[in-house]
């Protein structure tokens, strides 16, 4: 299902959402665009200068892009992948579909969506947090939950009501 195979679900564990937990889609796309503009490859220091961001802030975004299979990092050089190029030439809707294929394959995302499918009813935030806490501890579970909701909404596979704290699955719009 994944069309990258370069970094997705590498660890296979439940914390594997961690690299994209505190990064936005826009930041990742912005990074890919910036590297593309300087020829598709650049060292980390150059990128940091180009995008006017220190390494503390850039690091997690680079990590997220690598995790999604959008860049490779080797000896300090960051190179965009074919998947990146595809993403750069896609419109808003196509971009979502590409990212959806990746996210849908991430084990922890699967874990929760399978759980919702099997339950056949909305899942409460608390029951998801409980499942996640048992695996990663309660502190990380909160971050992981937020990330699941954020990315799940972005790829249009998850609907979440923050007032009722209920999560349901949805079918992406065409």
């Amino acid at each position: 299902m994944s069309n990258s195979g370069e970094g997705v679900g590498r660890t296979g564990g439940v914390t594997d959402f961690h690299p994209i937990a505190k990064v936005s889609v826009g930041q990742i796309l912005g990074l890919v665009e910036a590297i593309d503009e300087v020829g598709g490859v650049a060292d980390v220091a150059t990128i940091s200068q180009e995008v006017d961001m220190d390494l503390d802030r850039l690091g997690p975004i680079l990590g997220a892009a690598e995790f999604l299979g959008l860049v490779t990092v080797e000896e300090g050089d960051v190179r965009i992948t074919d998947l990146s190029r595809k993403l750069l030439h896609a419109n808003v809707r196509e971009r979502k579909a590409i990212v959806r294929d990746i996210i849908d394959d991430v084990p922890v995302f699967r874990l929760i969506t399978d759980m919702a499918r099997k339950a056949g009813r909305p899942l409460s935030r608390q029951e998801i947090i409980d499942v996640l806490s048992a695996r990663v501890g309660s502190h990380q579970a909160e971050d992981l939950f937020k990330a699941l909701v954020y990315w799940g909404r972005y790829v249009e596979l998850v609907r979440y009501e923050s007032q009722s704290e209920l999560l349901t699955l949805r079918t992406p719009s065409k």
């Binding site: 930041q27 808003v92 979502k96 909404r153």
Partner: protein
């Protein structure tokens, strides 16, 4: 069409503030036009009055002298043909994404069913499908600004005004959003007919605009009006691009 394609006319607009009988001139005889399918950026150093100019253009403030005409008539603040995107997003925190987008349509008395459909169309156009029932606090900065853009576009304005729309965002998010706005702009089926954007970033102006209006520091006077004839999509690393940036820098400094 009898009239040529002129949408907006800014005619010798000046603005002063008065304090204890002393006059502080902010803008001095600014004059330009915006036509159909025009993407115009106003650029100038901070304090040159460019945001004030935009507020005058949308009718939120009165000029001290001069006038602003929209389709030949004096501009009014409640003109539904003009929409505004703000630097600070200006979202209502207690409303969801879709409710925020529907606000402008509510003011136009669009019925609820149509309102929802139109809001959904523009939420989709800016890539926010999936976040309809999220609250602003659940969104990243870039997504908040997308809501601002969707809300502005939903009233299907002829002229979209943007006041430093990217300056509260980090550099990466900003660049991504610039590109997506240009993507929307290149779609002739979507509003608006013209864009007028204020920015302090010369690079941003050259990246986005067909025309750049350069203002001096206070009082803001028009130093130049330049036609940026670079093909799109533009590459900020190309020498031609930098030629334009350098030229504008030399005009301001």
């Amino acid at each position: 069409m009898t009239e040529p394609d002129v949408l907006l006319q800014v005619k010798d607009v000046s603005k002063s503030f008065f304090d204890n009988g002393k006059e502080f001139k902010i803008l001095d005889l600014v004059r330009f036009e915006v036509t159909h399918r025009d993407f115009v950026c106003i650029v100038g150093p901070s304090g040159c009055g460019k945001s004030t100019l935009l507020r005058i253009i949308v009718g939120l403030e009165e000029p001290t002298s001069g006038q602003v005409l929209f389709e030949g008539h004096p501009i009014r603040a409640d003109n539904p043909q003009v929409a505004m995107v703000f630097q600070s997003f200006a979202l209502f925190p207690w409303l969801t994404v879709v409710q925020n987008v529907e606000l402008g349509l509510e003011a136009l008395h669009v019925d609820p069913v149509k309102r929802r459909a139109v809001a959904q169309k523009f939420i989709d156009a800016v890539g926010l499908t999936g976040f309809e029932n999220a609250y602003p606090r659940e969104l990243s900065g870039g997504m908040k600004q997308r809501v601002g853009i969707a809300r502005a576009l939903a009233i299907e304005p002829l002229l979209l005004c943007m006041d430093e729309p990217f300056s509260s965002l980090d550099a990466l998010t900003a660049q991504n959003l610039r590109d997506e706005i240009l993507q929307l702009w290149s779609n002739p089926d979507l509003p608006p007919e013209a864009v007028l954007m204020v920015t302090h970033s010369i690079e941003e102006a050259v990246y986005m605009a067909d025309r750049v209006i350069v203002l001096s520091s206070r009082p803001g006077r028009m130093v130049a009006e330049l036609e940026i004839d670079l093909p799109r999509p533009r590459n900020r690393k190309e020498p031609e691009f930098y030629g334009w940036v350098d030229e504008i820098y030399s005009l301001i400094v």
